[in-house]
């Protein structure tokens, strides 16, 4: 019964908030309380394995709780809770909030239902509901751009889900049931071409949702157009449902090694996913580098980081799988942290444009720390959690014999480091613009989730076992060898990583650097309102000497294999459809004689075809 309780909580929250949306205090208390209850219930379910089936209306809805679904359920509930606390004081648009909360909690509900489903039809129904409510969240601001971005998303995901539905129905007839177990036993004994058909049909929907290259183009527009708190939530969790789908597909439905599905001697499904992961890691990350908007920059990273997770899942050795799963939770924690920081900056300064911000470090120290912790994690630098999962991924890809994938992962990391440096510098470092003199830190309730996440990001960096413990349960649930880990890292037998040592070394280096800094005396401290130059002409407005447009060649290259080709492809499909449409419309030209001829001709066609019977 735990399952039904936990599903009812967000559902109840959605409807209660729809009713109480107009009174602010009641609304926020309810939202925080119910999402807290949701988190509590999901924590309580840790380690349980139950299944449950319910006859709702005309369906047999079967759900089951296993380590994998718990892992995702925990993430959904935990990050929902933090987002809700944060958004209680976040002043986004005041109007229409009841509907907004409704859509948000319906989305949370459908996500919880997706991870708990143990039947593909249930999975599909909630998957569609999730897409629908994601669309509602995306178009919340209501501008023309928002709607076109949202429509891009929903059209693509509808297309993928119709394909999904077709595969589903065909599986239903072949396997006799859509239960995960029955499907996986059927897929084990069927022939290769059908298996590949099923795999491709299902993986399409998941790749769309997880925004993997080249199906990622919808994400930056639609995510960055949502209100920031929900951009945070969407980035941290929504796309990861696609990865949940891929894990489900590979490890539960296919319950086997992808490399056994060979299309030719060299090409198997594992390589294909690996290549997709490689492109997803590299190209979006470098695109992020070119962005001028903080939210947009980070949404590009949320595509790129998905590539790392996909890499781990595709490679599939114990260490790689652990790395991929670990990266999902790490990523969610630090990207949420960064977005909460951006949200704070946006709320106080009114903009997320990187070229207009700067120097906010003293005004908003907590947000700065939040973003700092977040980007250290994002770039995969010790001592934060991102380092551990990336380390696992690098090591496992090389060990499994994929040096080029490892190279792609390194390249992606370089792009990440470059872009996050730009990111934090342009918001928090440098000279302060006069218009931001009165900016102050956000209220405590908004700082609280940032503190929690900072602790989490660092704690998972020092004690990865906190996350590796549930992950090893997942691996055992898949019937695979789990990664052997120690409290503060990876066990000696599996490749030895001790994060405590690394933390000590980092600390020592910090002390050393501080000592050098303090001993050396020649420092000039420039006020944040002063302007200083290195041989350039500056005025009151430009307080700071800077250069930009550093990487035109790189930019051209990235653009050519990213925006240009994808948008051109999508545009040409749209244009093609429109041309077909114009052409077909001409049939209805309005000439009555021509219509009469049409009718007669069609009659003759029917007559002719009946002739052969």
């Amino acid at each position: 019964m735990g399952i039904i309780k936990i599903l009812l909580v967000p559902l109840a929250a959605a409807f209660l908030l729809l009713i109480t949306g107009r009174t602010r205090i009641l609304r926020e208390v309810l939202a925080v309380g119910l999402s807290g209850l949701f988190l509590g219930l999901s924590l309580f379910l840790y380690g349980h394995e139950t299944s449950f089936s319910l006859k709702l209306f005309s369906f047999q809805l079967s759900f089951s709780l296993n380590p994998l679904s718990w892992f995702f359920l925990f993430m959904v509930s935990f990050f929902t809770f933090l987002t809700v606390i944060y958004s209680a004081r976040f002043d986004y648009q005041k109007n229409n909030l009841s509907w907004f909360h409704f859509a948000f909690f319906m989305k949370v509900f459908s996500m919880a239902a997706i991870v708990l489903a143990s039947d593909l039809l249930v999975f599909f129904i909630f998957w569609e509901i999730m897409s629908l409510f994601t669309y509602f969240l995306m178009v919340q601001k209501g501008g023309e751009k928002d709607f076109s971005a949202g429509a891009k998303y929903l059209i693509l995901s509808l297309f993928a889900s119709v394909v999904f539905l077709v595969v589903l129905v065909s599986l239903y007839f072949k396997a006799g049931s859509l239960n995960y177990l029955d499907v996986s036993t059927y897929l084990l004994r069927t022939n290769l071409s059908y298996t590949v058909f099923v795999f491709c049909g299902l993986v399409l929907a998941f790749l769309v949702k997880s925004a993997s290259f080249p199906l990622h183009y919808w994400l930056p527009d639609s995510y960055s157009n949502a209100p920031t708190t929900f951009t945070a939530f969407l980035s941290a969790l929504s796309s990861r449902m696609g990865l949940y789908g891929i894990i489900l597909l590979i490890y539960i439905l296919f319950s086997g090694d992808l490399s056994s599905f060979r299309l030719s001697h060299f090409v198997n499904l594992r390589y294909i996913l690996g290549v997709i992961a490689a492109f997803t890691m590299v190209i979006p990350t470098f695109t992020a580098l070119m962005q001028d908007d903080a939210k947009r920059l980070m949404t590009w990273h949320s595509i790129g980081q998905g590539g790392y997770m996909l890499l781990g899942i595709a490679v599939g050795t114990p260490m790689a799988l652990a790395g991929g799963l670990f990266h999902i939770i790490n990523y969610a924690s630090y990207i949420l942290l960064i977005f909460l920081g951006i949200g704070a900056v946006e709320m106080r300064s009114g903009t997320t444009n990187l070229n207009k911000l700067g120097g906010l470090i003293k005004k908003m120290p907590v947000s700065f720390l939040a973003v700092l912790f977040g980007i250290i994690g994002l770039a995969g630098i010790p001592p934060m959690n991102g380092f551990v999962s990336k380390w696992l991924l690098y090591k496992s890809t090389i060990a499994a014999g994929f040096p080029f994938l490892a190279l792609a992962a390194f390249l992606g990391t370089i792009g990440t480091i470059l872009s996050v440096y730009k990111f934090i510098h342009n918001i928090f470092l440098g000279q302060l613009d006069g218009s931001y003199q009165k900016v102050k830190e956000v209220p405590f309730l908004m700082q609280l989730p940032m503190y929690v996440l900072m602790v989490m990001v660092w704690a998972l960096g020092i004690f990865p076992s906190l996350a590796l413990e549930p992950i090893s349960r997942i691996q055992m649930f898949f019937g695979r060898e789990p990664l052997s880990f120690s409290t503060s890292g990876v066990a000696l037998s599996a490749g030895h990583l001790n994060m405590l040592t690394i933390n000590f070394v980092m600390g020592a280096m910090l002390v050393l650097a501080a000592a050098v800094f303090l001993i050396g005396h020649r420092r000039i401290i420039v006020s944040q309102y002063n302007n200083y130059a290195a041989g350039h002409f500056l005025d009151e407005k430009t307080k700071y000497n800077y250069n930009y447009h550093f990487y035109p060649t790189l930019q051209r290259f990235i653009d050519s294999c990213n925006k240009e080709f994808i948008n051109r492809g999508v545009d040409s499909i749209a244009r093609g459809a429109r041309q077909v449409s114009w052409f077909l419309r001409r049939i209805y030209g309005g000439n009555l004689n021509y219509y009469a001829w049409g009718i007669t001709a069609a009659f003759l066609i029917i007559m002719g075809s009946l002739w052969f019977y």
């Binding site: 209501g142 429509a151 009469a596 069609a602 009946l610």
Partner: protein, 487 residues
């Protein structure tokens, strides 16, 4: 009370009453359709247990006029009365001029639709079909604008061609068998068909195909549906074309007892599907877009049904229900927008959904149901269509082509519908609504009711599913049809 005759009698009676009394026309219409709705529910409940047969005129079958309410007919009659009732309620404040003629014609349109569905002999089917067609020509021209006259005239010409096809076919059949009773005709027909029967079948498909809006018999549709007042468009798009399709299917599968896939219809229906959905993509006028979308949907329904198995019929009926309700919602909602903003160009509707919260929500429900998203009814019909296509045996290639088209065209459909939805909720709004007060409230009721029905039936699809299954089996069972009517 459970007598299909009362449906026709009450509708025609009130239509004439309205013409003679000249007053209270809308209340009479409301009374007629409400009574009709109540009656048709009872008839459906009775027909699901045992089909109803009424013989008129004191002669025995096959010489009398018989009305036959099989589950299929009863279900369609219920649909007619439901949408008709909603259209009448909507018209209460929407139609302000020449109410008498309007309501009389609308009631006749409903009577014609019910009559075609209930008639058990081919000539009465034709007569009711003519009532349906003629009243709809007049209703299309009701607004007395240049384009509505043009649309009505084109509709009239093409409809007359169709009617004459049907009449010739009836003449051929009567000449062959000397009977007009459908069951009696059915008893005489066996496969392979003789040449004259082939001609008759082709004429019937083409003739009723004009009303069923199957390509290329549907040239009238994109002009006629938008030109009519919105409640009439809802009835024409939601019901009238399905009545035409009913006639086609009843004749092909019950009377002629065609075994297996009916290829000519399948090909034309697939064409209709493609042409309709793609043509809707480039429309700038909301009602015109909806009309093309109806064309696409009727193509989908006809294509599913021409596979000729009980599963595809069930799926097709689910889609008929879904489309009738959803398209009525969309047309009625567009009527609300037109009433307020006096324009149906999509670009003029920016922000219209925000001004009318409930109507906008119902509009969205209609869209999501047509695209096939859970938890709306459309999801189950889409699921049922795919399931039934995987069940068809022998013609797998065609089924796969069809599935491929469904996949592509769902995306196309989503593209044009989401464009409209985006415009409806866009900021800044250009749509300015004069406050309608009580009138608006009355117009919102049927729209919201139908929207909620889509959601409710989506949550409890087994009700519709059961009806659809019975309807499908009654369509396919030639022997039972003959046996029940002729005894």
């Amino acid at each position: 009370m459970v007598n299909p005759l009362y449906i026709l009698v009450s509708l025609v009676f009130f239509a004439l009453l309205i013409l003679f009394v000249q007053r209270f026309s809308k209340y009479f219409a409301l009374l007629a359709t409400a009574f009709n709705f109540y009656l048709s529910i009872n008839i459906l409940i009775a027909a699901l247990k045992k089909p109803l047969l009424v013989n008129l005129g004191g002669w025995k079958v096959p010489f009398c006029i018989s009305l036959f309410a099989s589950p299929l007919s009863a279900a369609l009659v219920l649909l007619v009365s439901l949408v008709g009732f909603c259209a009448v309620v909507f018209s209460f404040s929407y139609i302000e001029e020449e109410r008498n003629r309007y309501y009389a014609l609308l009631l006749l349109l409903l009577a014609g639709s019910s009559g075609v569905v209930l008639a058990a002999d081919i000539f009465n089917m034709f007569v009711f079909f003519e009532i349906l067609c003629i009243s709809s020509y007049a209703l299309v021209a009701y607004q007395r604008k240049a384009d509505s006259f043009e649309a009505a005239f084109k509709y009239l010409v093409q409809g007359s061609v169709g009617s004459s096809f049907i009449l010739i076919a009836i003449a051929i059949i009567y000449g062959l068998f000397g009977t007009l009773n459908l069951a009696h005709i059915a008893r005489h027909i066996s496969f392979p068909l003789t040449f004259s029967l082939k001609v008759a079948l082709a004429l019937l498909v083409a003739g009723f195909g004009v009303e069923a809006a199957i390509f290329p018999f549907n040239f009238w549709l994109p002009d006629a549906h938008p030109a009519a007042p919105s409640p009439v468009s809802a009835v024409l798009s939601g019901l009238a074309i399905k009545v035409g399709l009913y006639a086609v299917l009843r004749l092909i599968f019950t009377i002629f007892g065609y075994p297996g896939v009916f290829l000519p219809l399948l090909f034309l229906a697939l064409f209709t599907f493609v042409v309709g959905e793609f043509a809707a993509l480039a429309q700038g006028n909301l009602k015109r877009m909806l009309a093309y979308s109806s064309m696409g949907q009727i193509g989908l329904i006809a294509a599913v049904m021409s596979f000729g198995s009980v599963y595809t019929f069930t799926a097709g009926f689910l889609q008929i229900f879904n489309h009738a309700l959803a398209k009525s919602v969309l047309f009625l909602a567009s009527g609300v927008f037109f009433y307020q903003g006096h324009s149906l160009e999509i670009s003029d509707l920016k922000g219209a959904g925000r001004k009318n919260v409930l109507v906008g929500a119902a509009f969205a429900a209609g869209i999501f149901s047509l695209v096939g998203l859970p938890p709306f009814l459309g999801f189950f019909s889409k699921l049922a269509i795919l399931v039934s296509l995987f069940r068809t045996q022998g013609t797998l290639v065609l089924a796969y082509i069809f599935i491929f088209l469904i996949v592509i065209l769902t995306a196309v459909e989503a593209a044009y519908f989401l464009r409209v939805l985006g415009v409806l909720y866009q900021k800044p709004a250009v749509f300015s609504a004069a406050s309608g007060g009580k009138k608006m409230a009355l117009m919102q009721i049927p729209v919201v009711f139908l929207g909620l029905l889509l959601l409710g039936l989506g949550l409890f699809p087994q009700i519709v599913q059961k009806i659809a299954y019975f309807a499908a089996s009654s369509l396919l069972n030639k022997a039972a049809y003959i046996k029940f009517i002729l005894g």
